[in-house]
């Protein structure tokens, strides 16, 4: 890497991304536009890890869905490996894009087919992309399940018989089956128990190191972002309000909105709240009102 110091290979480049949704209200269908994403740009280097943080309605998930092709952008460019991705991809490009990038969703139980054994779910992807000769597909499924820490026997289980953490491992195995260069993770652990979250976060870090894949994480959880990402983009109401390295942005937030997000994290909030105890109740004043948006 040292030899090509100036050239950092960008795996993904997003430039000037806009997305409008048409909202229809009333019987006559007077429509208005919701600007869900406004002028979002960022890059992810090969083997890099970027997170988009923001609250409900910030547009962070819409950006992820545009990148993987589940949504089309109103304007803007998504480039992967230097090639611009079409906004209306044909079957070939869809297949190419599905090989290159895979998405893992928030709720692992809902994102897997309840009637399909998880081994089959992984097998399907391997076979679809013709990544192995037919006779060695099964072996590849075993490899993938092992890579995410699932016992071979669990391949014959259906999602409802697995724990949330095991389902999320299966969903990750299924995503890895396409041998993608980019994993897009939409709130990958927020539906899991605390003790399981750590297992999945470690697994993702391991996979990133072992396979050299890039991660794009969508989350509202700043602690998760600190653990998983190198760079971060902060979105608020469709716009990027701040971006930079995770260290800079979370330690020294520049934008007011980022600062509010950081201060609202419970471990940071403790400084701002009074100590409560039954002995002194009645005499507490709490700074700030509960005014809503």
């Amino acid at each position: 890497m040292q030899a090509r110091e100036a050239v950092v290979e960008m795996l993904l480049k997003v430039e000037g991304l806009y997305k409008d949704f048409r909202l229809r209200s009333g019987l006559l269908g007077r429509s208005s536009r919701l600007h869900a994403v406004k002028n979002v740009s960022f890059t992810i280097p090969a083997s890099g890890s970027l997170a988009i943080v923001g609250e409900t309605g910030s547009g962070k998930t819409t950006v992820a869905r545009i990148i993987v092709g589940l949504e089309t952008a109103t304007r803007g460019v998504v480039e992967a490996d230097g090639v611009a991705l079409s906004s209306s991809p044909g079957p070939d490009e869809r297949r190419r894009r599905a090989r290159m990038m895979q998405m893992v969703f928030q709720n692992p139980v809902l994102s897997l087919d309840p009637h399909q054994e998880i081994g089959r779910a992984v097998h399907e992807v391997v076979a679809f992309h013709h990544l192995r000769p037919r006779e060695s597909c099964d072996e590849r499924v075993h490899e993938l399940l092992a890579a995410v820490g699932l016992d071979d026997r669990l391949g014959a289980s259906r999602p409802q018989n697995l724990s949330g953490g095991q389902c999320q491992r299966a969903a990750i195995a299924r995503a890895l089956a396409a041998e993608p260069e980019l994993l897009v993770l939409d709130e990958p652990v927020s539906a899991l128990d605390v003790s399981t979250q750590a297992q999945i976060l470690n697994l993702l870090a391991d996979l990133k190191a072992a396979l050299g894949i890039s991660l794009l994480t969508i989350s509202h959880d700043l602690a998760l972002v600190r653990q998983l990402a190198d760079d971060v983009v902060v979105m608020c109401q469709g716009e990027m309000v701040e971006s930079g390295t995770v260290d800079d942005v979370l330690t020294n937030p520049q934008h007011d909105y980022t600062r509010r997000l950081v201060e609202a994290v419970p471990e940071m909030m403790s400084h701002a709240l009074p100590v409560t105890s039954p002995a002194n109740h009645g005499g507490i004043e709490i700074a700030g009102s509960a005014g809503g948006p």
Binding site: E55, T56, A146, V148, G149, L150, D151, L154, S163, G164, G165, Q166, R169, D193, V194, S195, T196, Q197, A198, Q199, L201, N202, L203, A205, D206, H220, L222, A223, L224, R226, Q227, V246, L250, R260, L261, V262, E263, A264, V265, P266, E267, M268, M269, S270, L273, P274, V275, T276, S277, P278, H281, G282, I284, I286, G288, S289, A290, G291, G292, P293
Partner: protein, 357 residues
């Protein structure tokens, strides 16, 4: 003083009540069998106190709230004593008990949209309980509802009364749910993961609201969450649950800095922190269990780094340690020091073998 047309708003609450669970065990009916989900739970909430109940799935934290509110699934059985100002609700006739539970205990759930009728306007939702349980007229209940919404920090309360749930944001709707739960002026509020589904800035506003209500009105709050850090700053006392039992009770601001039970220690260590990245997150091997699936002995022992042979032989009793109560055979030892010495395995690496538990 001239008497107002309508009673003054409920913001000037009645005196609080003391809620106490003593040796409460709750069973759910599974087929023909009764299986335990809560085991011998002792819990005490003083007027104006916010008590935290922290645990993972299956720990019994929601079942504790549902036992208190009397909204258990069909066929469930609760034993022990549920005392409200010393009166055991479990011994009251069903109708009388339900009336007490409906008027003394408010309940706020995790996902407001799953619990509010989408075809009811905010005003309908707000006034129903007041008219049923307090016998207020339409105009009286409306006036009180508007006052309550206003005191929850909801802007344009009159206009909100006519809105449907889908017109409000999640945080706004959760405030409506809290206002609705407080409409009959209960002395106790059960907040079951009430801030889990909302954004972090909204979460901060809602916990400040709960703290203000407990401070100003003497409202007692049972604050149920999976987030130890949140419970630690909101609550005067925090109870950690595992497999249907309370395993550690500590004063707020203690549990975070000085956890005693191995489960609490590992749960805290497993959380990523916003302040730094760690090379590997220490993980707890295996998955959380519920009371009905718990192994014999201490239910945590198969996952515990400090487990001894005796740990699978009996359930440890609650013992007083360092100003708290802990259910662990090794509670009197300085387990954190053992870790530093290296005489106990460091936390699992969270890798490949951790998933099968």
């Amino acid at each position: 003083m001239t008497s107002p047309v309508v009673d003054p708003p409920t913001v000037t609450a009645r005196t609080g009540r003391t809620l106490s669970l003593q040796d409460v065990t709750t069973y759910l009916r599974v087929g023909k069998e009764l299986k335990p989900v809560l085991l011998r739970v002792d819990l005490h909430i003083e007027p104006g106190e916010i008590v935290g109940l922290v645990g993972e799935s299956g720990s019994g934290k929601s079942m504790t709230a549902r036992t208190i509110a009397g909204v258990l699934p069909r066929g469930a059985v609760a034993e022990g004593e549920l005392l409200l100002d010393g009166r055991n609700l479990f011994e009251m006739p069903r109708r009388a008990r339900r009336e007490v539970q409906a008027t003394e205990i408010g309940f706020v759930f995790q996902d407001p949209r799953a619990y509010i009728d989408p075809l009811w306007r905010v005003g309908d939702h707000m006034t129903e309980a007041m008219r049923v349980h307090l016998g207020l007229s339409r105009s009286e209940s409306r006036a009180r509802a508007i006052e309550l919404l206003d005191s929850m920090g909801i802007d344009h309360p009159e206009r909100r009364m006519h809105q449907f749930p889908d017109e409000l944001s999640g945080g706004m709707l959760q405030r409506v749910m809290i206002a609705g739960a407080l409409s009959v002026d209960p002395s106790i509020l059960l907040a079951d993961e009430a801030t889990t589904a909302v954004d972090v800035t909204t979460q901060a506003e809602i916990v400040k609201l709960l703290m203000r209500l407990s401070a100003e009105r003497g409202l007692s709050v049972l604050f149920i969450t999976h987030d130890l850090a949140l419970a630690d700053i909101v609550c005067s006392r925090v109870c950690v649950m595992y497999a249907g039992r309370i395993v550690e009770v500590r004063e707020g601001r203690q549990i975070f800095d000085d956890p005693i039970h191995p489960y609490t220690m590992d749960l805290l260590a497993a959380r990523p922190t916003i302040q730094r990245r760690v090379a590997r997150l220490p993980v707890i091997k295996g998955v959380p269990t519920s009371a009905m699936d718990a192994p014999p002995g201490c239910p945590f022992h198969p996952r515990c780094r400090f487990a001894l042979d005796e740990c699978n032989e009996g359930v440890p009793a609650m013992v007083a340690v360092r100003g708290g109560m802990v259910r662990c055979f090794r509670a009197h030892e300085d387990l954190a020091a053992l870790l530093k010495e290296g005489s106990v395995a460091s936390p699992g690496s969270g890798g490949r073998d951790a998933a099968q538990g």
